[in-house]
């Protein structure tokens, strides 16, 4: 195999003779057409370009791209190209590349958007996303009304399936996370409260934290990652697959058929999961408390029961209900708004989780302020 080389020589009468030699194969360090392009640009301006390929060996696309570049440059400089010296195949491939004129406006140019414009655009995007979400809430309320007045089309078996997926199937992960959170709280509590001999109040700390706040938030976040994402992906894929269109043409409202059953399943399951999560957290805390504190099981249980009032319990359950609605809303909205490509489904899923978590945290803050003012 011999190294590729290219030279441009003036052959008299304004002709530039391009000599190509060696093997012109991609990935073998090709010299590129630069010597010829430089010559074409320089004075005295040549009138034509000819090729000498007497010592050219093997060639592939590497040669053709160089030739195309020479052709382009010659065209731009008003120089004739005499391609008689080229191998037959290369000549035809070059001709093919120029057979169809570049479509006007097809070439994309890299535009840099100014910083202020980007701020403006993302503000508008956020504003529009908010409007979309509100419109979706409105549709969801109308759909819920149809559901409860028996005018909606849905499959009862679908609801049961969603209930299983959002409920029973989520138990292992909720168990694990809640139990560990309860243990962590208890560790922190024991360390701090023991310093002034109030170790038993660890039971209060764990129970109140779990029942009032943590169980709802943790299950909410778990469900955003598990079920909200699944909703967005399921509905988004159906959208890509034209399955949602197929429903609409039948006169079946996709909101009634796809969204409401999912929302209802999650609304039913969230408080139950949250209650279960509280219990697991308290058990986790109890394990740590009994090991690290000098209290009996009975004392610890008694302390826990006295700490948790009905207000706290129902306050926590109400929060979990709100989070459930928000997670289902974010998931289904992203699914319905999904574009029609695999990429779009991925984005919708990501957005569903991100929005779900943001909505949970924001509403948690709002609800806490309201609770404090109500004295719950």
């Amino acid at each position: 195999m011999s190294a590729a080389a290219i030279t441009a020589n003036d052959a008299g009468a304004g002709t530039v003779q391009v000599a190509l030699s060696g093997d012109w194969l991609l990935g073998h360090g090709l010299p590129g057409p630069d010597p010829v392009l430089d010559r074409l640009r320089k004075a005295p301006k040549p009138s034509s370009v000819a090729f000498d390929t007497g010592s050219l060996g093997d060639w592939d696309t590497g040669l053709v791209t160089a030739l195309v570049a020479i052709h382009r440059s010659a065209e731009a400089n008003g120089v004739q190209v005499d391609d008689a010296g080229l191998p037959e195949g290369a000549r035809r491939l070059v001709a093919l590349a120029f057979a169809v004129k570049e479509r006007e406006g097809a070439r994309r140019t890299d535009e840099r958007t100014p910083f202020l414009q980007r701020i403006g655009e993302s503000t508008l995007d956020a504003w529009n996303a908010g409007k979309e979400l509100l419109a979706f809430v409105g549709e969801m309320i109308l759909s819920a009304r149809r559901f409860f007045t028996g005018k909606a089309t849905y499959l009862r078996s679908d609801i049961l399936l969603h209930i299983e997926e959002a409920g029973a199937d989520a138990l292992p992960i909720v168990t694990l996370i809640s139990f560990l959170i309860g243990m962590i709280f208890a560790f922190v509590g024991v360390m701090q409260l023991n310093m002034f001999g109030a170790g038993i109040f660890t039971a209060n700390l764990v129970a109140l934290a779990m029942v009032r706040e943590m169980s709802a938030i943790m299950t909410g976040i778990i469900m955003a990652g598990r079920t909200g994402a699944a909703y967005a992906a399921q509905i988004g894929t159906m959208k890509v697959n034209e399955e949602v269109d197929a429903l609409s043409t039948l006169g079946i409202n996709p909101m009634d058929f796809l969204v409401t059953p999912r929302v209802i399943a999650l609304i039913l399951m969230m408080p139950l999961l949250s209650l279960y999560s509280s219990l697991m957290g308290i058990l986790g805390g109890m394990l740590v408390g009994l090991i690290m504190l000098d209290v009996s099981l009975q004392q610890y249980v008694q302390q826990t029961i006295s700490a948790v009032g009905l207000n706290s319990l129902f306050g926590g359950l109400f929060k979990s209900l709100v989070y459930g609605i928000l997670v289902a809303l974010a998931g289904c909205q992203q699914g319905i708004a999904c574009g029609s490509s695999a990429m779009a489904v991925g984005q919708a899923t990501t957005q569903a989780v991100v929005r779900g978590i943001v909505l949970i945290v924001v509403s948690a803050s709002v609800l806490t302020v309201i609770y404090i003012n109500l004295g719950i």
């Binding site: 089309t153 159906m238 697959n241 034209e242 269109d245 197929a246 609409s248 043409t249 006169g251």
Partner: protein
């Protein structure tokens, strides 16, 4: 059922995605029991036109008239009533992946009829048998091949004995024999049930085999170039682009005399 007048009329249809114009000034008529072809090169808006006709996307201006009644100008309830007479076969079949074939076909029956579950299953089995899928009632869409999905999609489209069947690229992705069988099935349905058939396609063989009438959409001028019987358009259309399309790019510059 009103006889005589055209079954479907498109009047001054203009379609656009936002500011991006797809097609404008579309005017054509489809008679009852006719196989009507919507054809044109890739990206000319054939599928968008179909979406407008089946009520999935609203036109920018103009309207589609079914039996003389403007579709987009009527209320949601009236639209649903008109849409009940439609059967649609989507490009990929678009079967609901969470349901078996029998459930897919049965959903429309469940929605619009008083049939009980056993009767619905019987109808579904019959419709599947019609498209050569007898015995596949309890298969999920993911378990059958692409060609079978299309046929199952057709069975679903026919569930309600529609007046009008819409096909979006029925032969795309099918082998020649399956494509031919589907063409035969389309003609058979038209002949035995009197169904009006609207087909979006650019498969020439299909176009000539089944088309009674057609409209040709052009992506460059963004409007229809011709409407009429595809064979006649191929031989006598005054428009070179239309003849060239219908002859796979080998048309002579001059049309042969009528």
């Amino acid at each position: 059922m009103p006889e005589g007048g055209p079954h479907i009329v498109a009047k001054d249809l203009t379609m656009a995605y936002g500011d991006f114009l797809i097609q404008q000034n579309l005017n054509f008529e489809i008679r009852r029991g006719e196989v009507f072809i919507i054809m044109g090169g890739s990206g000319c808006g054939k599928s968008t036109l179909l979406k407008i006709m089946i009520g999935l996307k609203s036109p920018k201006t103009g309207d589609v008239f079914y039996d003389g009644k403007a579709f987009w100008a009527s209320s949601k309830q009236e639209q649903v009533a008109v849409k009940r007479k439609f059967g649609t076969l989507f490009q990929s079949g678009a079967l609901w992946s969470g349901m078996t074939l029998a459930e897919n076909i049965g959903l429309a029956l469940k929605q619009y009829t008083d049939l009980d579950d056993a009767e619905i299953r019987e109808v579904a089995a019959y419709k599947l048998a019609l498209v050569g899928l007898a015995g596949f009632e309890d298969f999920y869409p993911s378990e059958i091949s692409g060609g079978m999905k299309k046929r199952a999609g057709l069975a679903r489209g026919m569930a309600m004995d529609p007046d009008i069947l819409f096909f979006d690229e029925p032969s795309a992705g099918l082998d020649p024999i399956s494509a031919k069988l589907l063409d035969d099935l389309i003609l058979e349905l038209r002949d035995s049930l009197g169904t009006t058939v609207v087909v979006v396609t650019h498969e020439l063989e299909s176009i000539f085999a089944i088309g009674d009438n057609s409209v040709f959409l052009d992506p460059v001028t963004k409007t229809q170039l011709a409407t009429g019987n595809p064979k006649e358009l191929r031989d006598h259309s005054p428009n070179f682009d239309v003849r060239n399309f219908l002859m796979r790019g080998t048309a002579p510059q001059e049309a042969s005399a009528a």
